[in-house]
């Protein structure tokens, strides 16, 4: 396993450690019903066949990976940097994406918090640009104060562009 400083080595700031739990609970909410469904299917449909137990084992393996391995990997690879004129958001483990938005190109900004975010003390910064591809850039897992701080910083740029 890699340690948390992986993202810092690339000159980016990590997000709140609490975000790992957000990811984990989200994975749990997604995979638990599937796991139950697979077990039920096993008992009801496959009892007398040689495939008995196969769906449960496969889904259990997948959900264990999704709940215990994937969140920390994704967390370690999530980082951002607020350059003087650019916002950089780096994320993704299997599908790595490194997005740069020039601050003068930002149309408007939201700070959103879902129930899970409130539980673990995180917030999402949502940046809208005029582009059709990638017109919404989300930076999740920020501390709420930090999110507002970045928002105010970006807003200054939007204003200065209008003047």
């Amino acid at each position: 396993m890699l340690d948390d400083s992986k993202i810092e080595a690339t000159g980016l700031s990590p997000v709140e450690p609490g975000y790992r739990h957000v990811l984990r609970v989200r994975a749990l909410v997604f995979w638990l019903p599937l796991l139950i469904a697979a077990s039920v299917a096993d008992l009801v449909l496959l009892l007398a066949t040689p495939f008995y137990g196969l769906p449960s084992i496969v889904v259990a393996f997948l959900s264990a990976t999704a709940i215990f391995v994937v969140p920390s990997r994704r967390y370690q690879r999530l980082g951002y940097a607020l350059h003087p004129t650019l916002l950089q958001v780096v994320r993704g483990w299997l599908f790595h994406a490194d997005t740069i938005v020039p601050l003068v190109r930002v149309q408007h900004i939201d700070v959103t918090r879902g129930p899970l975010d409130k539980m673990f003390g995180t917030a999402n910064l949502v940046v809208h640009t005029a582009g059709t591809h990638n017109s919404i850039v989300v930076l999740p897992g920020l501390a709420p104060d930090r999110a507002s701080e970045i928002r105010d910083e970006i807003r200054r740029h939007i204003r200065s562009d209008f003047e």
């Binding site: 650019l86 299997l94 599908f95 994406a97 582009g131 591809h133 990638n134």
Partner: protein, 512 residues
């Protein structure tokens, strides 16, 4: 409020003929009434029938009349105000600054009467595809005046009279009938077959007629029947006749569609941008502000490009009706004409750029992505072939035919997948990018050839994307956010990751 009212002109009404179009709209909702009428007629309640139709006619006439009476618009120096509605009044204000596009449309009746439908498009309509404001029927002259006002307020052209505005238009590109028909040939399409399938699925069933059902043909051409014997004896002729019919259907579809859409195509340069008029029955007249153009695409295909033809589309902040977004400003033009159109919005045609090729991972990534499917299909074909061979003889005679069909179908799918990969390789040989001054050029595709011209200042965001497959090859994809709809997928694929980072730096340097 008073101040604002003072700068607005007097309220104007739509031409009374607009009543007709709103009546036509309510007639479309009359099917329930017809059903009820039919029921009354059968039951012999003639009086009820008369009352129903009478009430409905009066009600729809009345509501159309009230709608017409309560609809008015006022044109000011800086905005158009549209007031409508009886109980829930709507006062819509369309500031000229926010109007991106003024479209003047004429259907055949409108043309006879010298009327036009005027639509104002503002940026906010981009997603919904709804008109922000439309004037259903006003005189063509008034429509032209309003458009000139909107244009003039842009600050580019002084408030020119309609005559002057006409005079300063310069013809940029036009297509004669021959060119339109030629474009139709290149728009070869078998879409009508798809429509036919859908039609017989819904209508053909009750009629007992479904040409896309095997049994329909099996019964018709069964050995022993006259048609069956004829088919067996003239197989080769019939196959070629079928292919010929398909060819003709495809050609006719393409010709008809293109003729309807592009008849009388002409493009003029005006003070504000490009003005496009086209259409056989429904003539559309669109002005594309030059400043709002975000990117350009020169599209072609192997055959078209062999004869030196291509199509020019512009991606603009102003959206095309129908939500397709990209505005076709030259459906079929040679290089010189395309250069002329680009020149008309002060864009240079690409000079002699230094093309940079991309990694062969462009092909491999697709092949790897398709490989699970390839394996499954190949395995399936083998399995059926093997199973057919294993079966004991008496049974196999019966089932063999079906197994053979499965093997053939699997083989065809396999061939299609391999052809996709082969096409991707051909596309890779053409795929390249280049910096052309302040612009990025990306050339792609073999069958669908595209040359995208993207001024760097129009880039809204840059994504550096790398999936685990790309990582094996050490490549990455760049994707750019560009405003305005229509041309998706701005980006460069399969760059070596180091190059990708350098290109990104170069694109973003203007923002540093």
């Amino acid at each position: 409020m008073n101040e604002a009212a003072a700068t607005l002109g007097p309220p104007e009404r739509l031409h009374p003929i607009a009543l007709l179009s709103s009546l036509a709209a309510s007639a479309r909702g009359m099917w329930g009434l017809f059903a009820a009428g039919g029921y009354f007629a059968i039951q012999g309640h003639w009086f009820l029938l008369l009352v129903t139709f009478g009430v409905y006619t009066v009600a729809s006439l009345g509501s159309a009349l009230i709608r017409w009476l309560k609809f008015s618009f006022r044109v000011g120096q800086r905005e158009v105000r549209i007031d409508s509605g009886l109980f829930s009044r709507t006062h819509r204000s369309l500031p000229f600054d926010r109007i991106q596009d003024v479209t003047i449309e004429q259907n055949p009746l409108w043309r006879v009467l010298g009327l036009a439908r005027v639509r104002f498009e503002t940026g906010s309509s981009a997603g919904a595809g709804e008109d922000d404001g439309a004037l259903a029927a006003i005189t063509l002259q008034r429509a032209g005046e309003i458009r000139d006002l909107v244009r003039a307020s842009r600050g580019l052209a002084p408030a020119a009279t309609a005559a002057e505005a006409e005079a300063e238009e310069v013809a940029v590109f036009a297509m004669d009938l021959r060119r339109v028909l030629l474009a139709g040939v290149f728009n070869f399409s078998l879409a009508v077959l798809g429509a036919l399938v859908g039609f017989t699925q819904t209508i053909g069933g009750p009629l007992g007629f479904d040409p896309f059902d095997m049994d329909f043909w099996a019964g018709l051409v069964a050995p022993g029947t006259p048609i069956g014997d004829f088919v067996m004896n003239n197989r080769a002729t019939l196959y070629s006749a079928g292919a010929f019919v398909l060819l003709m259907v495809g050609l006719a579809t393409g010709l008809l569609r293109t003729l309807l859409r592009d008849y009388g195509f002409r493009l003029d340069r005006t003070a504000i941008g490009l003005r496009r008029r086209r259409g056989l029955f429904t003539v559309t007249d669109v002005v594309l502000p030059g400043r709002r153009t975000q990117a350009a695409v020169i599209a072609s295909g192997p055959v078209r490009s062999h004869y030196g033809w291509s199509e020019l589309k512009l991606q603009s902040l102003a959206k095309e009706d129908g939500g397709k977004g990209a505005h076709v400003v030259a459906p079929l033009a040679d290089d010189a004409e395309i250069a002329g159109v680009l020149g008309a919005i002060s864009w240079q045609p690409p000079a002699a750029p230094q093309w940079q090729r991309v990694s062969l991972a462009y092909v491999w990534a697709l092949a790897i992505g398709l490989s699970p499917l390839l394996l499954i299909i190949a395995g399936q074909a083998l399995l059926f072939w093997y199973a057919a061979a294993l079966l004991p003889n008496p049974v196999s005679g019966e089932i063999d035919g079906r197994f053979n069909t499965m093997v053939i179908v699997s083989g065809l799918i396999l061939f299609a997948l391999l052809a996709t990969i082969a096409l991707r390789w051909l596309a890779w040989r053409r795929y390249a990018y280049a910096f052309d001054g302040e612009r990025l050029l990306v050339r792609s595709g073999w069958w669908q050839r595209r040359l995208k011209i993207l001024p760097m200042r129009n880039i809204q965001s840059v994504d550096y994307l790398q999936s685990f497959i790309d990582r094996w090859f050490g490549t990455a994809n760049l994707a750019f956010g560009v405003a305005g709809g229509g041309l998706t997928g701005h980006g460069i694929r399969a760059l070596p990751s180091e190059t990708a980072r350098q290109v990104r730096e170069q694109l973003l340097s203007r923002f540093r």
